[in-house]
């Protein structure tokens, strides 16, 4: 009896070992053939639930280096040898700088589903140079006035001017970046091109900004904004959008983003291929995947921060699979949606300053913080 169990146990172990060896072989072979794709990106885009399926299908491992802010991204590119990054996810206003510095490759338009994009995203300004795209439009969002409903109603949030209301004294928060803040206040000042200001309008804008300083509770990063808005520490934060309030709303917080009458801004993220990348074929395949309906839905519902998407097929699939999310993000197919906001001229692109240097805007922001 015991003798028997021993033999069977031995047999069992032998069998298990053999089986493991058989099962493991393809994995080992697969791992040997696996390619690496390096990506420079904002946080959250290389989460397993976004890229897991792509990695599996193409036997690729995506190595993401995450950055915070376009300046840091450009510095990272400038300091790395050419070919370090295969794929670069960048904000639209920085694509121009990437292209001028020769950090990204020109792309072949036929490789990507530009025809499937809604018209306003097809020939996107700042992505195309001399009729050639250097970046593929991936996702976008609107920036307005994000507020905690308990402290500031939608009716109030219809104007940026509410931030000066005495009842919000010491209750206005700021995302610690000059561009969206100055852009929002520039809209309040009635500048049709909020980032293209002559000397007089620029001076007026810095005055408007300085007058808001007594209302300010604090200057926050991504995590700081989430907790300050959720707790009601701040009533409102200008120049941000669903990329913050969507995350909070998903967790049941009573916050939302309203696009004021004075207008809102649009942020845009796109994908490019790094100059002298040795994996350009794979990078292209990856970008194609992110623009397929499947990839589009994944990027629209990104855990780190949701966004709207440019492709019709993506919209169709989102409405099909997640009608609630399509509704929440204003991407419904039969009825008024986010595109109407753009077509009504209520949305301006977020851009780099046209007549002042970036440094001038940076200095104004630092001065504001130190006031």
């Amino acid at each position: 009896m015991t003798h028997n169990t021993i033999t069977t146990r031995r047999r069992l172990i032998k069998g298990v070992l053999a089986a493991t060896a058989v099962i493991a072989t393809p994995a080992v072979l697969r791992a040997q053939g696996r390619r690496d794709l390096s990506m420079l990106t904002w946080a959250g885009h290389a989460d397993p639930d976004v890229i897991g399926a792509f990695e599996e299908t193409h036997n690729v491992r995506i190595r993401a280096k995450e950055y915070v802010g376009g300046d840091q991204m450009l510095a990272q590119m400038a300091q790395s040898p050419a070919g370090t990054y295969d794929v670069i996810l960048s904000d639209a206003e920085y694509v121009v700088q990437l292209q001028q510095a020769g950090f990204i490759e020109p792309l072949t338009p036929e490789d990507y589903p530009f025809d499937d994009f809604f018209p306003e995203f097809q020939n996107f300004r700042g992505h195309w140079f001399d009729g050639q795209p250097y970046a593929v439009f991936l996702r976008f969002g609107f920036l307005g006035l994000s507020h905690n409903r308990a402290a500031m109603s939608e009716a109030e949030a219809r104007s940026y001017r509410s931030m000066w209301d005495p009842q919000h004294e010491g209750r206005i928060g700021h995302f610690d970046w000059h561009l969206p803040n100055l852009g929002a206040l520039s809209l309040l000042n009635g500048n049709a091109s909020p980032f293209d200001l002559d000397e007089a309008h620029w001076a007026e804008l810095t005055e408007t900004m300085m007058s808001l300083r007594p209302q300010v509770r604090g200057f926050y990063d991504y995590g700081g904004m989430l907790s300050a808005l959720r707790s009601g520490e701040v009533s409102a934060i200008p120049g941000i959008g669903d990329w913050i309030t969507g995350v909070l709303a998903r967790d049941g917080a009573d916050v939302t983003t309203t696009i004021p009458e004075e207008g809102g801004l649009q942020w845009t993220e796109s994908l490019s291929i790094g100059a002298q990348s040795e994996n350009q074929d794979l990078a292209r395949t990856f970008i194609q995947y992110m623009l397929s309906p499947e990839g589009q839905v994944k990027t629209a519902t990104l855990k780190a921060y949701p966004a709207m998407i440019p492709s019709r097929a993506g919209w169709a699939r989102l409405n099909d699979e997640l009608p609630g999310e399509a509704q929440r993000q204003n991407m419904v197919l039969n009825g008024p949606n986010a595109l109407d906001e753009i077509r009504a001229g209520r949305i301006r692109l977020r851009e780099l300053p046209v007549q002042q240097s970036l440094e001038t805007w940076n200095d104004a922001w630092t001065r504001y913080k130190n006031a």
Binding site: D71, L74, F219, Y220, G224, A228, E233, E359, T366
Partner: protein
Amino acid sequence: MTSSAFPARTSGRRFHFLFNRAWQALWVLPLPAWLLLFFAVPLGLLVAISFWSVVNYRLTPDATLSAWRYVLGLDFLWASFWRSYGLSMASAVAISLLAFPASYAMAFVAAPRQRLILLGFAIAPFFTSYLVRIYSWQVFLTEGGVISSVVQALGGKGESLLNTYFALFLGHATLALPVVLILQTIALANVDRTGISAAANLGARPGAILFRIILPAARPGLTLGLLFAFLLSYAEFVSASYLGGGTFQTLPILVTDLVRAGQQWPRAAVVSLLMIASLLVTAFVTVLWAYREKG
């Protein structure tokens, strides 16, 4: 026989002498090496970088005064400098005063074994990440957080305490209080007991013993405690941004702002050098005061 042993003994003595020399040299050698490696070289690099320039987001060796001109030309620089300095000094004084009764108890009331256990408790916070400790303060201080809920339950307004000097001070204390406790306790525990006994035997009151015997004797250690609290608070960035909400613009926050805005490392280096210079002056003055001759 003895004559043959004699030279051997001298050579033995000589060997011994040389060995002692070598032994000492071995112990002395790291001092200049460490000073070079951990102090002189980084400081030299910082000075050098302050004269470099940034071209296309790339730090480029150069010999330009532009970073110095820019930083020293900022109209808010000195306001921020003194704000930063004043906040840290206020924190340092408050932390020292807070720590003193506890240190006194550990030095004069607790038995040596108890003192060890209590010091162990004082050091315990070092075992968790400082960042985690600051985040947990946020939970207590925020709107609807632990403290405001308790205050509201007692009928108060219970407003958030975040982004106030109080919150910033709590952050500074979290960082510096354990260090100050240890320094003060060691200073007080080393005060010569015979002087204290003599004064007591001659009928001195406890207050007089404290102010005329203990405090003067422990002055160097107590001053060092104050200095360390100041150093830690002055260079502190995490509390300033997460508990002060960036509304108290301190120099460390200015440093990060300068780096973020166009990777201006040279300008950040200038601000850092200003901070180092003011720290050195402060340290020099306090140490002079701590060790000045009683007269």
